[in-house]
Symmetry: C2
């Protein structure tokens, strides 16, 4: 089996496990809020963050169990909470998400807001109610997620201010991308490290790996928004571009943005390489796969 | 000192302690979201829920420390989260809260939504980061709050459907009030019991006490909305009534609603009376005080 096939198989298998756990942790569709939660979470997500979390955890010698899958579900709930809110008329005002009508278009703004709250609340609830994880560890992981959500909301606030009338410099844009995208991706790597009880220095490297990977992922979004103009990239939506928001490409151009992505990826891999007892093989492949945006 | 003065003093003193802890736990006003959080929380709340929590805790022999005050702050953060959202245009669409412009009128809908999320997130964060409480106990209390927020959101969803075109019966209305108001008040009593390690049966009585107190509190709101029509009750806002929502009074009339409030209060006190080693004095006075709506 080729390496490409191997990593695709790895992703597919873990995505399936994550989806099973997500299904068990979602409420049944008894009321509108629960139906909106299910709609938003089950709306074709790639499960990038949970799969990355699992990959880092396994690379550090961990074995998947129900506790790990509950954490993976919690991470995806938090991601979906932020997506529902991002699409609201009061925020980015997007009618579509993953090619389907956004939650607020299907269920109304009121129910969409309550569903997003419920997903944030449920993320923490399923984690704290998980018996397979010791109380002290649950508190550490939940605290890490809460710290991340705080940063995520700051990033969202910064992003709201990114209009053509209020331009931002590259430094500010990097800060916003770090908050709204990279922080949760970094938390996936860091929480895997917390679970494997790695040393503080290595925890910092895992965090840094995730920040750099997440930042490149978001800059790549800016690049694809432009290159897709010619290629009519299938199935993607480029709302940020259409609204004339500041992006890496609008600030420094396509080529420099691509150079930054490549630099960040090199740095991200270098962070991993410095960690003791980590199996870098899968993670390198996964990172490349993510950055090729096949994922 | 008269009993009335004594209970007023008790309330004022504990409210002061709670406000100090709230001030320490709120973020500084560095960005719009933090300013909106501060505005909404510091906007003249009575701190009914935190003070009730402390009163039950002390009645069971507990002594206030920083951990207790952090829990009190977390409870008020959750209450404020629900108030900000309740006022949003997509929900109850109220321009005023406590006689002042609602958060979304001052900061915009987008920032108000992010501030409400941040308060929910911060409630759990300050609790899990509190060193004065053991990890196992933190997990128990946070889980209880998360269970309560889930119920609160269900109550909010039910309340949204309460329009003249979609009338509800008394049973459904009781269910909605129990969710949107009584559940968090009951959680205050129950969490105090969890902290004092009372037996399961007594925990159920504390919960039942809070549910009955909370339900009477909300029905009294319906009553005051009507009686105030004649008396021009000062400083209150009666948005639910104005929008023609179903209430206890609209369903069964003023006198029957008043009877239900009195009955519920008798039952609430009876629950307390059956609990071993509880100092009922303060709690009876506090409950009466709350129900006189001086509070």
């Amino acid at each position: 089996m080729s390496l490409k096939l191997a990593i695709e198989k790895y992703i597919t298998e873990n995505r399936r496990k994550v989806n099973l756990s997500i299904g068990e942790n979602l409420p049944s569709a008894n009321d509108r809020v629960s139906r909106a939660m299910r709609y938003a979470v089950l709306n074709g997500g790639k499960r990038l963050r949970p799969v990355l979390f699992i990959a880092v955890f396994e690379s550090l010698g961990g074995r998947i169990d129900s506790g790990i899958l509950t954490i993976a579900s919690a991470i995806e709930f938090i991601h979906t909470f932020s997506l529902i809110q991002d699409d609201l008329p009061a925020l980015d005002n997007d009618d579509y998400r993953r090619g389907k009508p956004a939650a607020h278009k299907v269920f109304g703004e009121d129910i969409a807001i309550l569903a997003s709250d419920s997903l944030l609340n449920a993320a923490y609830k399923i984690l704290l109610e998980e018996d397979a994880i010791a109380a002290g560890l649950k508190v550490k992981i939940a605290s890490e997620l809460m710290r991340t959500v705080k940063i995520l909301i700051s990033g969202q606030e910064g992003d709201l201010a990114l209009t053509p009338r209020k331009p931002a410099g590259l430094l500010r844009l990097k800060e916003i991308y770090s908050g709204k995208t990279a922080a949760l991706i970094a938390a996936c790597a860091k929480i895997a490290g917390i679970l494997r009880a790695v040393k503080a220095g290595e925890l910092r490297r895992l965090n840094s790996f995730g920040m750099k990977l997440g930042l490149s992922y978001q800059i790549l979004d800016d690049i694809l928004n432009v290159t897709a103009e010619n290629k009519a990239f299938k199935g993607r939506k480029f709302s940020d571009q259409r609204k004339g928001k500041i992006t890496y490409v609008s600030l420094i151009g396509l080529r420099k943005s691509q150079e930054i992505v490549e630099n960040l990826m090199r740095q991200a891999k270098r962070e991993l390489a410095k960690i003791d007892k980590i199996d870098k093989g899968t993670l390198f492949l996964l990172a490349d796969f993510i950055l090729q945006r096949r994922y």
